[in-house]
Amino acid sequence: MGQFIQLVVDGLSNGSIYAVLALAIVLVNQATGLINFAQGGMAVFSAYITWLLTEHGLSLILAILLSVLASFVLGALVERLVMRRFERGDPDTAVVVTIGLLTLITGICGWLWTYNNQQFRSLFSLTTVSIFGAAVSIRSIGTFAVIAVIMLFLQALFLGTKFGLALRAVAINPKSAALSGLPVGRLLMAGWGLAAALGAVAGALVAPQLTLTPGMMDTALVYALAAVILGGQSSPVGVVVAAWLIGVVENLAAVYVHFIGYDLKVAVPFILTFVVLVVRPQGLFGRKVVARV
């Protein structure tokens, strides 16, 4: 029983890594209608900014705050200077551009800071506390708490504020939004900026665990996308729950389902995603889109 609880707790802690990236993907999706494959790469870039600042003697908290600000500006600039050219065209083209961005940003990080693993200080200590007999590190609890706050913030932003409503309007129908007087360009820039800022927080949470390298987020991105599809692209709460579910199910399947084991556990979240797509295409928590004919 002790082992079971420990595996669940470990799974939740792994899931948190996917969750934080998935939240950033949902944010861009809600604000621009796109899936941004470069989200992981941008988060890594922000993490390097944070790391660079701490190397110059800044305290970690201050470094993260500065990196969040810098990332907001960079994210907005990426939208204005790169993505803007593709937003009016075929959405598929824009998605492909984000894949190109991912490769470009990873290359730039490698060029500037090498591919060596850099040690990234953690906000939370690794000291453990015992919960129901399972050892849980303060780092996991801290990550949990930060994710919960971001999740509630996003949910409130999109559903409870005029700004959130405007972002969603621009994403769903840019033409009508423009006609009703919304500053479409600036809202898109704000959406990308917010997502990049969230990426900076994601990077700071993940980097101590995975160590900072240009490809740090690559695997996490695949899991995060699975979580986004499983949870529903429009629901911050949904993707976080989905990410935690993926982490836990993966662990339990590896240990208790013998033909899966550690070899095949990677397939579990994707089979789960496949089943959900067939049964409930809008995701577990997503809203069904009804079109008038």
Partner: protein, 416 residues
Amino acid sequence: MKLKDYQRLTGAIALIAAVSTMTVAGCGRGRDGASHGGASTGITDSTITLGITTPLSGATAGPGTCTVAGIKAYFGAANAAGGVKFGDGKTRKVEIKSLDDAYDPQKAKANYDQLKGSVFAMTAGLGTPTNRAYRTAAISDKVPQVLVMTGDPIFNDTSQSPYQLSLVPAYPNEGEAFGKLLASSGTAHKVAVLSQNDDYGQGYVEGLKKGIEGASNIKIVKELTYEATDTSVDAQITELAATGADVMFNAMSITPLAIASLQKAQQLNWKPSWFLPSNTSSPAAILKPGNASAYPGVYSVSFAKAPASPAFANDPDVKKFLSDLKQYGSYNETPAFPHCMWSYMAGAILEQAFTKMTEPTRDNFMKALRGISDFKAPLMLDGTSVNTSVDKQPAVSAVVVQKYNGTGYATVENFG
């Protein structure tokens, strides 16, 4: 949100797959490695050119960059001192051409095809699948592929690989050295095994089992694996901790996972003696962040002096190596990967072969290279040496088991 978005996402994923397939299929056009005036391709009276294909981008780029930096450092210094005096009486400068294969076998083959028309020999590149990708082509082109960094035994079997020789001990050599140390301890030990699910991990485990064969005091209580792409091995550590083993054999090549394993076991209050392979045992990059001092002992095997270890801070070999690496290898940090040292040694071994070469031909070079015995290359630890004349063994096959003492490693004769 919209059904269309899912289709878009699926489409994009399919596109990634298509693009990567196309990259993989990218092929290089080879030129004929014709020789002129009796001398082989890539060698003149004043220069010799060596080719390297190795990962310079992607997940293995850290160690890969080292494989180029080390040999460039060695020959950069040698060139600056006038060049290398060959056995045929001529002094030549050594030039290095390196290409990035991103650990992709197809790219490695394309790189080889691009290089083979202009280089004398291929060397120093890292990776088993990448080196295997052009092995047969190198044999039919009669291009030496020597002192490459792979633990795959096929490169050392002269009947199968007449133009090959690998540099580093095979993975089983390392596992076996630790297994023997355990077996000779005379006390009972329970061993938990966590290995990478590929040739690398299997090689180590195979060596360990050979080392403890017939030793009744050693029992392997549980064997688990992980995939090289995994982001966490917490579940495996939790499962292994439950066995209460007092020795952890961790055949792992991924830096962040090695750190996380050390951290996780401590969180679970499981503190066995710990074994790590030579390429993931760096005190600065792995043991310090993993707080390895919490364990009764962290063991590894090595044949190279670790520049990060205080024990070698004033070692003349290490000092020269670090300054050469900075000046000629464009590598400014103290390397966290042993591949920088290994590649530097490869330079020294090649120089040995060059001084014994009486004709500027590839065949003569292979003969000279296979005639080195008990050569102590710079940075080699006491108890290890280069022997290239033994069939089915890499250039360096001897390793010594070392124990972490809080700052660096010291060679140990007994376990415990």
